[in-house]
Subunit: 299 residues, 2 copies
């Protein structure tokens, strides 16, 4: 079944001590859509400016991503510039230029409104609401968010939590949202805000699922070398919902397996700048790492 | 089979925003010995002063711990005082009084020298060497360490690495030892310094084993509430070697399973001050959490 994904579609300029990478394809929706495309057909909702490189539209199409919901507006594409320190753990935002995103109102094509799986990737909660208003009875809605929205759009976010099946967020964000120091307790408290499923991302330490059937701990695929972690979280949730949309049977079991697939796609994402590594991955390469990770956690 | 454990035997005064706990039984060897005692007979090597409370000797004995190697010397028992902040993540040392440890020379009773399993718990590497010098052909030697020894006794520690089968250390210590930012690469580099097995502890995020058969990722048992994490790492390695000493079959498979058992004993340790929770645990309670953890990582 198909997945509708809304989020940011951006150009990312990423600087490290070794390399500058201007205007890479980025944004939460781009990473999530490419990740999901390995498993299921994807419909993308977003906006780009008239400066958006044609090669990036071709890249989306090569991944079979439906672009009827991608608006091309006069003006500049959302641009983010950031710099990583040597250890890849600390990043500094150098510039954020909203461009055409400033006036973005998602308007879903008719074919998108029946989407059974919906991913509200990281973007302003008001826009996530706007997309939810237009879909008809989706089977599963998952939302991602970030600290920015906890700080400046908390009310919108809290309303959103009552409309979704699953929330994905970082451990620090889970603690901030619940004012609770313990990550496990924080995850459990989030259920009371609405979502039946809560997924807490812990970067290289994996992720936790809190669900009616109990807790599930998924490990990250261990990497010898991280080139650029930008978009890893988006790749994780994109891979997860793509896997879910392609699977039959128990939702909760599929969510667990989907977290493993999401972790693996995220691991590829970290091995190159922007989407450069992810877009060269094959489904076979994903399956190989999923098997490897399975062997690494079995005892 | 039995386990020989050397390390610090101490009195810990642990302060939190809610409670002061003066002169609890502590030290790396105390935590490790109690943890190992759930699985195998333990022989303890250490030193205490004549101020050491009799009830702590009874506590060791209740756990069947052989105390022939515990010296009681004139003077004060090693005393550590520390304070935790509200979130339990930051701790500050208020006092370290070495007492009788200043002149400690471990001298192994004859019955200890045949010990098949040896745990060199966290203590000065020179003392770990001294114990190794006295044992005869142990089957498996595992050593724990801490950042202090990397800073002030690196040469002794590097020599020790060539004499042991397995090293256990924190992720930050692994990075410091290898001058390598990536934990996975750091673990692999440590093999070149000697140990066939490298176990990197990541606290609430679990632990990694790097072994000839590949990598193994073990998850920590998730806790809603951490009362006092002092001794969790010692409990982990104590539970691990205790399980190992009690198990037949493939060493590497037992190491993996032993990490799970170690994590579970460490989880109990964190739920009370000092050893207060661990000493009330039963083997059944351990097995129950091991099963729960198994269900939480299965997919």
């Amino acid at each position: 079944m198909s997945v509708l994904i809304v989020g940011s579609t951006a150009l990312d300029s990423i600087k490290t001590p070794y390399k500058e990478n201007p205007r890479l394809l980025g944004g939460s929706a781009s990473h999530a859509a490419v990740a999901a495309s390995f498993f299921a057909p994807v419909m993308l909702v977003g906006i780009v400016g008239d400066d958006f490189p044609k090669r990036y539209l071709r890249l989306y199409r090569r991944h079979g991503i439906d672009l009827k919901g991608l608006q091309v507006a006069r003006g500049k594409t959302f641009h983010w510039a950031g710099e990583y320190e040597l250890n890849m753990n600390n990043r500094r935002t150098l510039a954020t230029e909203l461009g055409v995103f400033e006036t973005f109102t998602p308007n879903l094509p008719e074919t998108y409104r029946q989407a059974p799986f919906v991913l509200l990737a990281n973007i302003a909660p008001a826009l996530q609401h706007h997309v939810l208003d237009q879909v008809r009875r989706p089977r599963f809605v998952i939302a991602d968010t970030m600290d920015l929205w906890l700080n400046i759009a908390l009310d919108d976010l809290l309303k959103l939590l009552r409309r979704i099946d699953a929330l994905v967020l970082n451990d620090s964000e889970a603690r901030q949202l619940t004012k609770e120091d313990n990550t496990i307790t924080a995850a459990k408290k989030i259920h009371r805000l609405g979502p039946k499923y809560v997924i807490v991302k812990k970067g290289e330490h994996g992720a936790l699922l809190s669900a009616p059937g109990g807790m599930f701990i998924s490990s990250a695929y261990p990497l010898n070398r991280v080139v650029d972690p930008t978009g890893a979280g988006d790749s994780f949730v994109g891979g997860l919902i793509g896997y879910l949309a392609a699977s039959k049977g128990s939702l909760e079991a599929n969510l667990k397996q989907g977290m493993i697939y999401g972790s693996v796609v995220a691991s590829f994402c970290c091995e190159g700048f922007g989407l450069t590594r992810t877009t060269r991955v094959t489904r076979d390469a994903i399956e190989e790492r999923v098997s490897q990770l399975g062997r690494m956690v079995r005892y």
